[in-house]
Amino acid sequence: DQQVKQNSPSLSVQEGRISILNCDYTNSMFDYFLWYKKYPAEGPTFLISISSIKDKNEDGRFTVFLNKSAKHLSLHIVPSQPGDSAVYFCAAIISGTYKYIFGTGTRLKVLA
C-alpha cells in the first residue's frame, strides 16, 4: 500500500521554464512534508519542507504547495536550470514519529 505516490516517473523541461513535480498521499494523519533531491551516486539532500498548517512555502527558486483537501503537494522550480536535473522524492511524516514515508521519485531532466 503506497501511502505516498509520485505518479510521474520522469519529466523533461526546457531551461528557464517552470518544473512542476507532483505528489499525492493517502494518510490524512501526515502533518509534515518534505522534498529531497538526489543526484546519481549521492545520497538524497533535503530541499524544502512544509507543515500541514501552511499551504505554501518558498525558498528561492523552489516553492512547495500543499492542498490538504486533495491530499496533494507539488514542488515548483522557477526558473529551471540544468543543474536541477536529478531525481526528486517527496516524503511525509506524522510529527512525533520518525517514520518518513517516501514516494517512488520523479526524474527531472532540464534541457539546455
Binding site: 518534505l34 533535503f46 510529527s95 518518513y100 517512488t104
Partner: protein, 112 residues
C-alpha cells in the same frame, strides 16, 4: 554542516556471507535510519534507532539486523546475504530543528 559517512561506496558479496554496513554521523543526533533504494520502489525503511542500544523495525526488516553501540555509529547487518538484497543502502540521521533527514552517500551492494 551535518556529515553522515558510510564506510563503503561499493561492495560485492557472495550469497550466504555476513555483511556489515557502517554509518557514522558527526552531529550528535539521537535518531539514525537505514533505508534501501530500489528502482520504482523509492526509499524503504529497514530499521531505525532513537538512542544507543535502542532500535525499531521499519517496513522491511526481514533479513537484516542493526547495532547501535555508540551514538554516532549505526550499523546494518545482513545475516546471510541473498541476491534480493542487492540494492543501494542509505543511512540517515535526524535533524530535530528542520525535521529533516541527512543522508550519507550510500553503499551500492551487489550480492552474487
Amino acid at each position: 554542516d551535518v556529515k553522515v559517512t558510510q564506510s563503503s561506496r561499493y561492495l560485492v558479496k557472495r550469497t550466504g556471507e555476513k555483511v556489515f554496513l557502517e554509518c557514522v554521523q558527526d552531529m550528535d543526533h539521537e535518531n539514525m535510519f537505514w533505508y534501501r533504494q530500489d528502482p520504482g520502489l523509492g526509499l524503504r525503511l529497514i530499521y531505525f534507532s532513537y538512542d544507543v542500544k535502542m532500535k525499531e523495525k521499519g517496513d522491511i526488516p526481514e533479513g537484516y539486523s542493526v547495532s547501535r553501540e555508540k551514538k554516532e555509529r549505526f550499523s546494518l547487518i545482513l545475516e546471510s546475504a541473498s541476491t534480493n538484497q542487492t540494492s543501494m543502502y542509505l543511512c540517515a540521521s535526524f535533524d530535530r530543528e528542520r525535521l529533516a533527514l541527512h543522508f550519507g552517500n550510500g553503499t551500492r551492494l551487489t550480492v552474487t
